[in-house]
Symmetry: C2
Subunit: 448 residues, 2 copies
C-alpha cells in the first residue's frame, strides 16, 4: 500500500522530552519487541519512538508499503535520523492545516514520485498508539479506495465509551443507506445517543485515489501542480481536510477498526502506554506507587515514596508532576524561555553542555558516514576536540584526517565541516564569541 | 574567643547535594541576610552554606573570634573556598573519633599557633542550626573556662520535648550539687522523667583551658606534641571526647542555651530550616503543597501537584522523595556507583560535563589569582580551551599568557598548570585516553 503519514507540529505538552524543535513523535520511550533489538546494541536502542513504532508496524503488515511523511522542514532531520533515508518526505514550507498538507503530499506522489493518478493512497496520523489490526484496516481501506465504488474511504473506530473529546461518524439514516454526518466533541449525553445509533469515532484516516484529491486541489486551491502548491504554500487556504472535503462528500465508505486506539498527547496517556515504568537510570524504592520516570540524562534519578507521578529529565529540564496535573503543563512550559539544549539532525545530534555569557560548549555526534553542511560563522570562533571515531575535516578548503585528541580551531569567517568515518564520530565544540546565536550561520556549496 | 569547629565527615544523607567529597556543611542552601549580599553579585551568592552561616554568626557576636576548623584533608579546599584563607585548619590525617580530633586541634593551637596553655578554647560542631544566642553562650562558656573554678564547661540545651534521639545532662542530686550524669538516647518515658528532674540536652560543646586537654592527651595518647600526634594519628585510640573525658570528669559547669537548636542531617530537617521553598531555577504550580526544591543545574525544574516532597538536582543526580521517606535514603545512595561530577577545590571548582569511554569533558573554574598544582598525567592527553577571563599557563616550563578562545594541548607526560588573573578564569578541559582516572596525577615543584 501507499501511505501518507501526517506528522504534526512541535508540542510542549510532553516537556521536557518534547520542545520547539523536538516533537513528541520522536521521543524514544517504547520498549522495542525483543527480536527488533540488534545484537550488541546500546541500551538506548532498546527503545523506539512513536514514529519508529508506527513505521515498524506498517512494515510488518506490508513489507512493501511505500511511506511518505508530510511534515515541516524542522522535522526532516529527525525523520531521516530515526527512519533512515528510504522514507519519502513531503516538506510543508509552513503550517496550513490538513487540506493543504494532504493536497501537497498527493501532488508530491503524483508529480515527484510518478505515482499514477488512478492509484489509491491512505492518509493517517504519524502517532496513533494502535495494534497491528489498525494497519490491516489501512490496507483494506486502500483496497476499497482502489477497487470500490466510493470516492472516499474513512476509518471508524469502535467506541469503548461515550468520549466528549473525539469526533463521531454517524450513519445518516434520514437519507437512506450510505450517507454519514460528522460531529466533533459532543456532550456525554449526545455521545451516548450517537453510539446507541451505531456511530463510530472518526479515526482521522482517509483513503482515496490521487485523482480525487488532485481534483479537489484544482477546485479549492486553483492548482494541482506540486511546484505551484509548494511555492505558493504560505498563501493557500488554511482549512482542514475534514471540513473542506469529508463533510461535503456524499460518496463515502467507512471501515471499522476495533482495538487499542490512543492519542498519546499528554504525560498521563503516554505513561499508560509504556511497557515498564522506568526508562534510563532510575532507581525507585518500594514505597513509590504508580510512578513513571524517564531519564535522558547521564546521572541517576532516585525516587522515594512518590505516588501517581510522572518524572521526566532531559537536557532541557526536569518535570516532577502529579499525573493528573500534568495535563495543565502548557502555560508553564510556554513561560520557560530557554534555548534548545538537544536536537537530532539528519547527520546525527548535538547536545548543549554549557552556556556562559560569551561561550557555549556543545557535544556533537555524527552518524557513520554523515557530515555537517560546509558553513561559517561571522561572530564566533570555534574549537573542535575529537572525542571518538575517525573522519575528515575540511577547513577553508583544506582537508585533513582526524582522530581522537585532534584539535581543530576555526576563527570567525572560516569555512568548515567534518565528515564521519564508518564508525561515526564525536567531538566537543567550544564556541567563543560575544553574540553566539544559531542564526549566525552561512552555508556554502560542498567544496570537493 | 578562640573556637574549634569540628567539621564531620562526608555524608550521603543529603544526596545529590552531598557526596563522598562534598559534605552537607558546604551546600549553599540558606538565604543570606540581605545586608550580607555584596552589590552586583551573582544569584548564587544570595545563598550560604551551613559552615558559612555559622562562621558569619560567630563573627557577628565576636568580630575578633579566632576560628580553627578540625577536619579531614578532603575538606580543606572547600573550607578555604567558602571561608577564605584566614581560618585556621587542623587537618586530621584520618578519622579517629572526637577525642583524637580535639587533642590534635588543641596541640595545633598550642604548638603551631602559639596559644598559651592557660588560655581557654571552646569546641563545637561546625553545623548546628542555631540563633545568635548560641554564640553568646559559647563566649560565656569560654569566659567560665578561663576564669571559673571548673575544669570543663558544657552546654546544656533547654529541651523542648522528650526527644529519644539526643543525649541528656542530668544534675546528679545523689552526690550533692555540682555532679552530673550523662545518658544517650533514652526512651520517651525516661526522657520525660529526666526533663522533669531538670535535665538538659547535651549540646556536644566543650570549653576548657588548653592545658586540660594537653594533659588528657599525655594520659590517654602518650603525648601532647602536635607532630607526634599528627604522624601517629592512624594508630591513636578511637574514642569519643564524651566517653574519654566528659563522663569521667567531676569538675564540670553547665551553661544553658535556650533557643533554636537543630541538627540538619536529613532532607526533612534541612528543608524545615530553609527560608523559602525553592533554590535555583524552580517553577512550582499552585497545587504543589509543602514541597522544597533545590536546583543546582542550569535548566529548569517544573513541579506540578506534588505534596510533601523534597526535590534536589545537582550534577551528581536527581532526588524526588516524599519528605518522610527521605530519611531512608542512605542504602539507595550507597548503591549508586558513580564518579564525582562536581567538586570544590581551594583554587576554584570543577564540573564533569560529559563522560565517554575514552574521554571526559570537565569545566574548570579558577578563582581570581588562584592556580592549579603543577602536574602531569601518564595515561591521558588534555586540551584546554579558555572560555572566560585571562591568565597564564605553564606547559613543560614554558609560560604564556592566555585569553578566551586560546587552546592549549598537553600530551600525556607533559607538565602543566594554569594561573588565573584578577578576574578569575574558566576553561573547558577535554581529557582523551583509554584509562582516565583521578589517580593518574603526578605533582611537581612549582616551576618558577
Amino acid at each position: 500500500m501507499k501511505i501518507i503519514l501526517l506528522s504534526g507540529g512541535s508540542g510542549k505538552r510532553l516537556w521536557p522530552l518534547s520542545n520547539d524543535i523536538r516533537s513528541k513523535q520522536f521521543i524514544k520511550i517504547f520498549r522495542r519487541p525483543e527480536h527488533c533489538v540488534p545484537m550488541g546494541s546500546e541500551p538506548a536502542d532498546e527503545y523506539e519512538s512513536m514514529v519508529q513504532r508506527v513505521y515498524r508496524q506498517i512494515k510488518s503488515v506490508d513489507p512493501d508499503a511505500i511511506v511518505t511523511i508530510a511534515t515541516s522542514k524542522s522535522q526532516v532531520s529527525a525523520i531521516h535520523n530515526q527512519l533512515g533515508e528510504d522514507v519519502g518526505i513531503s516538506v510543508e514550507p509552513c503550517r496550513r492545516d490538513t487540506f493543504a498538507a494532504i493536497a501537497l503530499a498527493t501532488a508530491y506522489l503524483h508529480d515527484c514520485q510518478g505515482v499514477p493518478a488512478d492509484e489509491a493512497v491512505v492518509v493517517c496520523p504519524v502517532d496513533p498508539y494502535v495494534e497491528a489490526g489498525y494497519f490491516k484496516t489501512l490496507e483494506a481501506m486502500c483496497a476499497a479506495a482502489q477497487n470500490g465504488d466510493k470516492k472516499l474511504v474513512l476509518m471508524g473506530v469502535d467506541p469503548t465509551y461515550p468520549s466528549e473529546k473525539y469526533g463521531y461518524i454517524k450513519p445518516d439514516n434520514r437519507h437512506g443507506a450510505g450517507g454519514y454526518t460528522f460531529t466533533e466533541k459532543p456532550t456525554r449525553e449526545k455521545a451516548e445517543e450517537y453510539i446507541a445509533a451505531g456511530a463510530l469515532w472518526n479515526g482521522g484516516v482517509f483513503a482515496f485515489k490521487l485523482s480525487y484529491v488532485l481534483e479537489k486541489s484544482r477546485e479549492l486551491l486553483g492548482t494541482d501542480d506540486y511546484h505551484a502548491l509548494f511555492s505558493g504554500y504560505a498563501s493557500l487556504r488554511k482549512i482542514s481536510f475534514d471540513y473542506a472535503v469529508v463533510e461535503q462528500e456524499t460518496s463515502i465508505e467507512v471501515l471499522k477498526y476495533s482495538g487499542t486506539w490512543r492519542d498519546l498527547g499528554t504525560w498521563n496517556t503516554l505513561t499508560e502506554s509504556m511497557d515498564g515504568n522506568m526508562v534510563g537510570d532510575v532507581r525507585m524504592n518500594e514505597t513509590s506507587v504508580n510512578v513513571h520516570a524517564i531519564n535522558e540524562l547521564g546521572v541517576p534519578i532516585l525516587v522515594m515514596g512518590a505516588r501517581d507521578m510522572v518524572i521526566a529529565a532531559s537536557p532541557d529540564g526536569i518535570l516532577v508532576s502529579d499525573k493528573e496535573q500534568s495535563s495543565y503543563i502548557k502555560p508553564y512550559v510556554d513561560a520557560i524561555d530557554q534555548q534548545i539544549m538537544f536536537a537530532e539532525k539528519s547527520w546525527g545530534s548535538y547536545r548543549v553542555l554549557d552556556v556562559e555569557e560569551d561561550s557555549m560548549t556543545v557535544k556533537v555526534t555524527l552518524n557513520p558516514g554523515h557530515r555537517m553542511n560546509y558553513h561559517s560563522h561571522e561572530r564566533r570562533d570555534e574549537v573542535w576536540t575529537v572525542l571518538k571515531g575517525e573522519g575528515r575535516t575540511i577547513v577553508d578548503g583544506m582537508e585533513q584526517p582526524v582522530k581522537p585528541g585532534d584539535v581543530i580551531t576555526m576563527a570567525a569567517g572560516c569555512k568548515h565541516t567534518v565528515i564521519a568515518g564508518e564508525g561515526g564520530l564525536q567531538l566537543m565544540e567550544v564556541q567563543i564569541g560575544n553574540d553566539i546565536s544559531v542564526a549566525d550561520k552561512k552555508k556554502y556549496e560542498w567544496p570537493l
